[in-house]
């Protein structure tokens, strides 16, 4: 069964533990500037929104790469950049509609979310369950449960 990152911005406090965990997993240092998941703060609205790669089924980055450096991990569903093959041409960063694959000047390669090989550290680190790692075919499960609970409460109130 494939799993997917499921992001609920309502629960995010903007603490950046996800960015810290991501950077530590991929660089061995605590360095939010190297994180592949980013939390955006909308100050005047009081909103925090984590954002990362959705692992498109027909991934534009993968299609655009001229050296086939981006491959599909059949087990996790992640589109994974092979550093050994990436030439840093950045075409994938242009192809991605969401901006979630980015060039890293320090390495001369691009970096994107690889789901940490099936154990995404951002989800583990999130203290509020704003980021969870769930059944890829049921990312709507929590929303459905919430609505079901409301419906159930409504029916009980009527009865």
């Amino acid at each position: 069964m494939q799993k997917a990152l499921n992001i609920n911005a309502d629960k995010c406090t903007g603490c950046l533990q996800c960015e810290v965990a991501c950077s530590f997993e991929h660089t061995g240092t605590f360095n939010p500037s190297k994180s592949r998941i980013k939390v955006f703060k909308f100050h005047d609205e009081g909103r925090f929104v984590p954002y990362t790669c959705t692992q498109c089924a027909e991934a534009w980055c993968l299609q655009a790469c001229p050296v086939e450096a981006i491959s599909y991990d059949a087990e996790t569903g992640a589109k994974v950049v092979a550093d050994s093959a990436c030439v840093g041409c950045k075409v994938c960063t242009i192809a991605c509609p969401f901006g979630t694959v980015n060039y890293v000047p320090d390495t001369g390669k691009v970096a994107k979310c690889d789901l940490c090989g099936g154990d995404p550290k951002c989800a583990t680190a999130c203290p509020t369950d704003a980021i969870t790692y769930v059944d890829a075919s049921m990312t709507g499960l929590e929303k459905m449960r919430a609505w079901a609970a409301k419906t159930d409460a409504g029916l009980q109130a009527e009865a």
Partner: protein
């Protein structure tokens, strides 16, 4: 590791920025942040220096855990000689500035001298540059932060800046970062202004390393689990913020009201954390959400709006968005201390404090003192420029807030702080302060340990040097009777020492609602070289406390300054559980000196200094 082992020295007089190696011998003795920066400060400055002279220095310092994945590990400290107090000042702030400084590769920045014209420091990793800030001089903290990010074309930059109040010498100006986090107390922003330093803008991409990553992940994960399971850090603080205390403290009769004339506020429920959750007529709430500083798994911060129809914002769209909401101390100082129970007015005044960069505790308490002077007829409409400065007048409070923000007219008078204001008008006894710094939100008659805390605090009256409220009110780590003086000397000393260690690590003191040093020591030990245990941290804290004390004595303070205003020592509480009580400071202070290893005048004995390696 986890020090970067580098400090940046910025000489504002000559315009030079120089990298230096961190003194690692000192780091092993004073840890970081508050402790290590104070050591540098004391070694490099004359204790008699005028706080606003170019010879005063100002240090921004991270701790060894700052920028790591430990919960709350984003703190930094500003150390200087305080403009408000003339004592050692160390003001601590969260947000995202500290971790960015560490990520840029620096443990601390030492500012010295004075720039000829306004400048800001641009620090991008190892590249430091002083830049002309004339276009930001006269601007608020909010405009400065937004402007600098736009100039750099980098929305991910972090900014700490002063507002007009800091430029114009308001004695309790802050240094504000991330729009609504602040190194708030003692006038550290005033010192920054006196140096013509408007802001620091940072970007750090180098990464923070720890000594033993595997042990560090284990220790920090264990710590996070403790915070999540604790009722205060896991539920109370995320839900209500520090405002969880408003109704609790009021009921126990320890809520200073109308310049400490009363100890209970009839309007407390209207300005409480619960009130912030109430749905307004238009369907919105004061509280939009809670929020976190860097790495914090507690998330106590309030994000609020002012009701759009409220007189303070209805024609001013720039104040209709969400911003930092009321913490307990601000809700108290702006609220019950001034007798105002209009939570929208308090929220607005708090916005102005953040926007214009000054401390809401000292501001509210100064307005409270001024209201008493006004009601006595000492201050008149002529002095106030027509403001009816009566207790309970919300409009007077918000008008004063805007005036202090500009340091204009009566705002400049209020910018003196309560001690200088009351002295000027012939009633020094009405300033509710110690070492010229205003009290926070706990009455020393109803919570006896806090009286000793205030009297002996090295930075003037302050709750964050030894928060015995934890024990006396919340029962953490064990319950003590708030009305008793017995045992409080030992309690205060234990809290003071532990707090100095926590402050110096780069962690937030709020973790200690759930964590003891037993939880913290393994995190510090895994992150840092050296052998860090509960015992070594406590000794480090005691060393820092005594070092700060030595500085204040050299600066001219004596044991006579370890006291409280007459009102708390002579005028009994009128209502509530503490009715009939005054502060028992006279019973606690001699015992405190004794267990500190100080003589009867409050001077550390030679053997105490020898034991701590301070002689």
């Amino acid at each position: 590791m986890s020090w970067t082992r580098k400090l940046l020295r910025v000489n504002l007089s000559t315009g030079t920025c120089t990298a230096e190696d961190l003194n690692m011998e000192w780091a092993q003795k004073y840890l970081g942040s508050r402790g290590l920066a104070t050591k540098y400060f004391i070694e490099e400055t004359d204790p008699k220096v005028d706080p606003l002279s170019p010879d005063n220095k100002l240090i921004m310092s991270t701790g060894p855990l700052t920028g790591t994945c430990a919960s709350t590990a984003g703190r930094y400290t500003v150390v200087t000689k305080g403009a408000l107090t003339g004592a050692i000042a160390c003001s601590n702030s969260g947000g995202f500035f500290g971790n960015e400084l560490k990520n840029a590769g620096w443990d601390m920045i030492i500012f010295e001298g004075k720039a000829e014209k306004p400048v800001y420091l641009k620090l991008i990793n190892e590249k430091a540059e002083l830049v002309d800030a004339s276009k930001y001089w006269g601007k608020s903290c909010w405009d400065t932060e937004e402007g600098l990010k736009a100039d750099l074309q980098d929305p991910q930059a972090r900014v700490a800046s002063i507002g007009v109040s800091g430029e114009q010498g308001v004695k309790y100006a802050c240094i504000v970062n991330d729009m609504d986090r602040a190194a708030g107390r003692s006038g550290v922003g005033t010192v920054m202004g006196s140096k013509n330093l408007k802001a620091v803008v940072l970007r750090g991409t180098r990464g923070v390393r720890v000594d033993d990553p595997i042990a560090f992940m284990d220790a920090t994960n264990a710590g996070k689990a403790v915070l999540a399971e604790n009722p205060v850090t896991g539920q109370g603080l995320p839900t209500y913020g520090t405002q969880v205390l408003m109704n609790v403290i009021n009921e126990m009769g320890a809520m200073p009201t109308r310049n400490f004339r009363d100890v209970q506020f009839e309007g407390a429920a209207n300005i409480s954390g619960e009130k912030m959750h109430e749905v307004r007529a238009d369907g919105t709430k004061n509280l939009v959400t809670n929020a976190a500083c860097y790495g914090c798994t507690i998330a106590c911060q309030r994000v609020s709006t002012v009701e759009r129809t409220h007189y303070t914002v209805k024609d001013r769209p720039q104040y209709q968005g969400a911003s930092g909401g009321l913490e307990y101390e601000a809700a108290w100082s702006l609220g019950s201390e001034c007798g105002v129970d209009d939570i929208e007015a308090l929220t607005f005044a708090n916005f102005i404090c953040n926007e214009q960069g000054y401390d809401p505790i000292s501001f509210g308490a100064t307005v409270g003192a001024a209201m008493e002077l006004f009601e006595m007829g000492v201050l008149t409409l002529e002095h106030t420029g027509g403001i009816e400065l009566k207790f309970g007048n919300a409009k007077a409070l918000t008008d004063c807030a805007e005036l202090v923000g500009k340091a204009e007219g009566f705002g400049a008078e209020l910018g003196l702080g309560s001690a200088r204001l009351c002295e000027k008008y012939g009633h020094p006894e009405l300033s509710m302060s110690v070492k010229k710094q205003e009290f926070p939100a706990y009455d020393a008659r109803g919570i006896q340990g806090m009286g000793l805390t205030y009297a002996t605090s090295n930075r003037g009256a302050c709750h964050l040097r030894s928060y015995t409220v934890s024990s006396e009110v919340l029962g953490i780590p064990e319950k003590t009777d708030p009305l008793a003086t017995d045992g409080k000397a030992g309690l205060v000393m234990a809290f003071q020492d532990a707090t100095a260690a926590v402050d110096s690590s780069g962690l937030c003191i709020f973790t200690t609602f759930a964590w003891s040093l037993e939880d913290i020591a393994p995190q510090v030990n895994a992150a840092c070289e050296g052998d860090w245990t509960v015992e070594s941290l406590l000794e480090c804290g005691e060393r820092i406390w005594n070092m700060e004390r030595q500085y204040n004595l050299a600066a001219g303070f004596t044991g006579k300054d370890d006291t409280l205003p007459k009102r708390l020592l002579k005028d009994a509480a009128k209502t509530g559980p503490a009715k009939g009580k005054v502060s028992g400071l006279d019973k606690m202070l001699p015992e405190y000196y004794e267990i500190r290893g100080w003589d009867a005048n409050g001077v550390p004995k030679a053997e105490t200094l020898n034991r701590l390696g301070l002689s």
